[in-house]
Symmetry: C2
Subunit: 305 residues, 2 copies
Amino acid sequence: MPLETTAIDSRPEVQEFLTRSRALVDHELDARVPAESVEPVAVHSAIRWSLFAGGKRFRPALVLAVGETLGASTAELLSAACILEMIHTYSLIHDDLPSMDDDDLRRGRATCHVRFGEAIAILAGDALQTLAFQTIAEDESLSAATRVRLISEVARAAGVPAGMVAGQAHDLAAEARAASGADLEKIHLQKTGALIVAAARCGAIIAGAGDQELDLVSEYALQLGLLFQITDDLLDVTASAADLGKTPGKDARAKKATYPAVYGIEATRQRAVTVHAKASETLTQLDRPTMLLQSIADFILRRNA
Amino acid sequence: MPLETTAIDSRPEVQEFLTRSRALVDHELDARVPAESVEPVAVHSAIRWSLFAGGKRFRPALVLAVGETLGASTAELLSAACILEMIHTYSLIHDDLPSMDDDDLRRGRATCHVRFGEAIAILAGDALQTLAFQTIAEDESLSAATRVRLISEVARAAGVPAGMVAGQAHDLAAEARAASGADLEKIHLQKTGALIVAAARCGAIIAGAGDQELDLVSEYALQLGLLFQITDDLLDVTASAADLGKTPGKDARAKKATYPAVYGIEATRQRAVTVHAKASETLTQLDRPTMLLQSIADFILRRNA
């Protein structure tokens, strides 16, 4: 049903899904993270400062969307959804540090180290990573076999040699030279792509997907992650600080490798359309009701924040 | 057999055990960590710089000693032994950072951030933590049920609210004021004690120990961890830089909460003897051949590096 699934009016539905998904995930995260009143107060306050800063919850939404599309219950999917957000937020806290990207503003508020100091920000990121793996290891609604598989997926996507930390290292190295299109693709596939693919795969694994579906879902998420990054780069050059919740134009000033910097704005817009088409094409091969997944791709293509 | 187990000649045996254990663990760690030639080269080099800096491998040795005492095979214990060292080393890399303890020398060589820069040191610590959880999740010599239990144990010992990161946060806070004996105990139980207890518990869990043995082993490790910390603090005021591989007297200058600073040197020595006696007493309740575990306690009491 390609005509129906790419219909313009899918947007209200996806908004509703994202709003519901965000509320569920926020509630679950709140239950998993020690309260601010618990010692050590500074670390717990710092974790909550960054975790509840109004993030889009894109990765958890993808866990839920893929998992539910493939037949898993929301309850089974929630802890995996949470740990993806914990890993993402830990990486934001560390990436914002002065020795890394040196960002003062994130999701519309002071970054963790600006608010709590560098030492506490480092510890908050460390503890959040630990809590992610603890949360999935202790989720008794999933079999132990599923839990270790999820931990392996998330760890490979988060670490080295080909996950998020590797991508951040390549990104830092690329700032020192003029980044090429090939640099850019490699950085994004690792720095943001790997975790987005892991989110989709975790949803599919919990739903008991076979290898073929897992491959299709991974390919869809790979394109979705690229689309997310391309639109992020575009917004950095075209949107206002109020829309973004962070300093616009920052990437260009920092000589960050971005799509507009390498290809120019028009070619970058065209690339977004092409990548969106690839994601849609992948979905047509999935013998499932793919309306929600298609709507998410449409939503990202058109997003303005 | 308390007379026999506390005999002075136990020392050559424990040296031999520690040497064998270190060689096994080093070999296994080398196989688990990406080579320096693998991209991102800087992160892998930084991980290896800190991981293969001649550490004592005390935590892995404890996994092996407790596990073997309780009937597990060395092969089953090795990945748990490795991940305890990975978690310990990640924490050293981050604790040494300028915004934390600001140490230039560790295990006789430049600290990770001095050698590779702060950004890469932060990423190396992050990746090493991730690799620890990945390693245990993917160890097919253990059942999935055992793997998730080990991950839960290690995560609780490493994180917040009562593990290693919590201890480091309390330690940083204590530097700002005069630390009391109660501060000191709380800091050490969390900062180093929790992971040492987890090492012993992981060994026991892999061996299939019941709750009673697990309790005894935890109590033994708790005392062993305190003994390790007390002797560490003593060495900081009495040993030379060549013996220590780090700057002696540094703790006192940094106004770190240490046993000699709070109790004085003689009372601290007496405390070491008392804690050693408690560890030995706990071992007499364990219906197993405890010679090796006793020798380890004796060795730590008398260590000079």
